[in-house]
């Protein structure tokens, strides 16, 4: 798939709506093994991203839309997730404007997260949702399959012991809880499915 600016705008809109709706759940997940701010952080960031995208106007390219959203996320989210998600969107934007290809863009976003944060699959972070999702899209080019992979990946964090981020301070006590960033990644990718379908429809 080659998402255009309209799909990207719809994605940001849908993502902002889903994060707002799930804000308290995400924060609660973060209370259990982190510092209880993830939902609030991301909600603040996504509202700023949506505003930035709306301020861009109709002539912006798909890459410009994601770049603006990423920049706003970095500027307003704070915490670990702000630079990680913001960096991912900016990398996706650059990739989209170069190749136009969603598979390449998703891979670029995932690489950015892994490079910035240094986390690998199994460390109980957003990477546990992101990496399998990107791989699924690379293999199937099916967004539904991709979103399911993200969800499964997020759920896999339940039994993991955290090795990155704040949850790693808890040692064994981090086991038995979902990682909030993995949960929000699943949600962001689910938003992409909806956006792509709605725009096509």
């Amino acid at each position: 798939m080659r998402p255009d600016a309209e799909v990207c705008r719809a994605w940001v809109r849908e993502a902002a709506a889903r994060v707002a709706a799930d804000r308290d759940r995400l924060t609660q997940l973060d209370s259990a093994i982190g510092d209880g701010d993830h939902g609030h952080n991301l909600d603040r960031g996504m509202r700023a991203a949506l505003q930035a995208v709306e301020d861009l106007g109709e002539t912006a390219t798909a890459g410009e839309v994601l770049a603006a959203a990423g920049k706003a996320l970095i500027a307003k989210t704070g915490g670990a997730s702000g630079p990680l998600y913001g960096g991912a969107l900016r990398a996706m934007g650059r990739s989209l404007d170069e190749s136009g290809d969603l598979a390449a863009a998703l891979r670029a976003g995932c690489d950015a997260v892994r490079k910035l944060g240094g986390a690998a699959v199994g460390d109980k972070t957003m990477v546990d949702a992101l990496e399998p999702a990107v791989k699924a899209y690379e293999e199937t080019c099916d967004l539904e399959v991709t979103a399911d992979a993200a969800t499964t990946g997020a759920e896999s964090t339940m039994t993991l012991r955290a090795r990155k981020g704040r949850a790693s301070y808890l040692g064994e006590r981090s086991v038995g809880h979902l990682d909030p960033g993995a949960a929000s990644t699943a949600l962001l990718i689910r938003a992409l499915v909806t956006a792509a379908r709605d725009v096509r429809a």
């Binding site: 308290d24 510092d35 209880g36 701010d37 609030h40 952080n41 970095i74 981020g165 301070y169 808890l170």
Partner: protein
């Protein structure tokens, strides 16, 4: 939730406006969310910038002023600041000889300061960063995000700030901050959790007869729960953890820090136990007892110990004039 606030989302700028009103010696940008010393930028002086989530006051805003920080950037409550505000503060205090970022070791703080440093470099400002990671409750291994930065931040800000005030260069100022960090260790004990304004609920529930050992400063639970015990025993647990990593001998700088909701009398009780345990083995050359690195209304305390050298002691004693630390002039 009961708090003296207007609205949860306004706590940070509202508190900054109060800070500005109370301390005419500071210049505060409540919208941009940073505070700088009134005479910034000080030409020819290395500038010190720190920051982190709000809710730890007086850290960091209370340590801005001559002899300590040039700027502080408070993020949302318990949330790292964003690169824009760190950059703005960095540019506002840059005196032409470089800027030192003092960063507590949390993934969010590290990433946001890193982005800000890159942006500052783009503007031609030399930035060096020193990571503070003194909390022995966290294993420092490849299997964790590394040790957290807590109480040693106060020591590093004070001592590096004093050296910068003497017009030492950026490498020397960064080196002394690293030295303080390497010679310092902390351990925290919580009796109850903090309530963040945005969520209105305590970060964790702790039964009436339990404490969290090895607790952080962001409302995250600690490494272990243990039964509530007399002060002597809680202090012993903390010092034992610290001592496993840092020999407690020679001249020490010791802080017994309140988490925010702990009466000062209790902190003095704890300090008395620290002094008793160290008697005959080490000298408490200098001390701080009070609320310095808090977690909103959390109750409990942390202990931070720094093994002083004569030079570190000299710099600790140097004049400082900030809202929360003030002596020597």
């Amino acid at each position: 939730m009961k708090k003296v606030i207007n609205a949860p989302e306004d706590v940070v700028p509202d508190a900054l406006r109060g800070l500005a009103a109370a301390h005419p010696g500071l210049r505060v940008d409540a919208e941009g969310r940073f505070a700088v010393r009134g005479d910034a930028p000080v030409r020819g002086k290395v500038a010190l910038v720190s920051g982190g989530g709000s809710g730890h006051e007086p850290l960091h805003t209370g340590f801005v002023g001559p002899g300590m920080l040039d700027a502080a950037c408070p993020g949302e409550v318990f949330t790292s600041p964003v690169p824009d505000q760190i950059l703005a503060a960095t540019l506002a205090v840059n005196g032409g000889t470089g800027v030192l970022h003092l960063v507590k070791n949390y993934t969010g703080d590290v990433l946001n300061f890193q982005l800000a440093a890159e942006l500052a470099a783009d503007e031609g400002v030399a930035v060096e960063s020193v990571l503070i990671d003194d909390d022995v409750a966290v294993e420092d291994s490849t299997h964790t995000a590394g040790r957290r930065g807590t109480g040693a931040t106060v020591f590093a800000e004070k001592i590096a700030g004093a050296l910068a005030e003497e017009r030492a260069g950026l490498p020397a100022v960064a080196a002394v901050a690293r030295e303080v960090n390497e010679r310092s260790r902390s351990f925290g004990v919580a009796l109850s959790a903090a309530t963040v304004p945005a969520t209105g609920r305590p970060g964790f529930d702790l039964p009436d007869d339990q404490v969290e050992l090895g607790v952080g400063i962001h409302g995250e639970p600690g490494r272990e729960r243990a039964p509530l015990a007399p002060a002597a025993e809680l202090v012993d647990r903390a010092l034992t953890a610290i001592e496993a990593d840092l020999p407690l001998s020679g001249d020490l700088l010791v802080m017994v820090n309140g988490m925010g909701g702990t009466p000062l009398a209790e902190l003095y009780v704890a300090f008395g136990e620290v002094a008793r345990r160290l008697r005959g083995r080490a000298t408490i050359a200098r001390s701080l007892v009070g609320n310095y690195v808090t977690s909103l209304d959390m109750t409990g305390f942390s202990i931070t110990v720094c093994r002083l050298t004569p030079e570190l002691l000299r710099l600790w004693d140097a004049p400082v004039e900030t809202p929360a630390l003030r002596w020597g002039r």
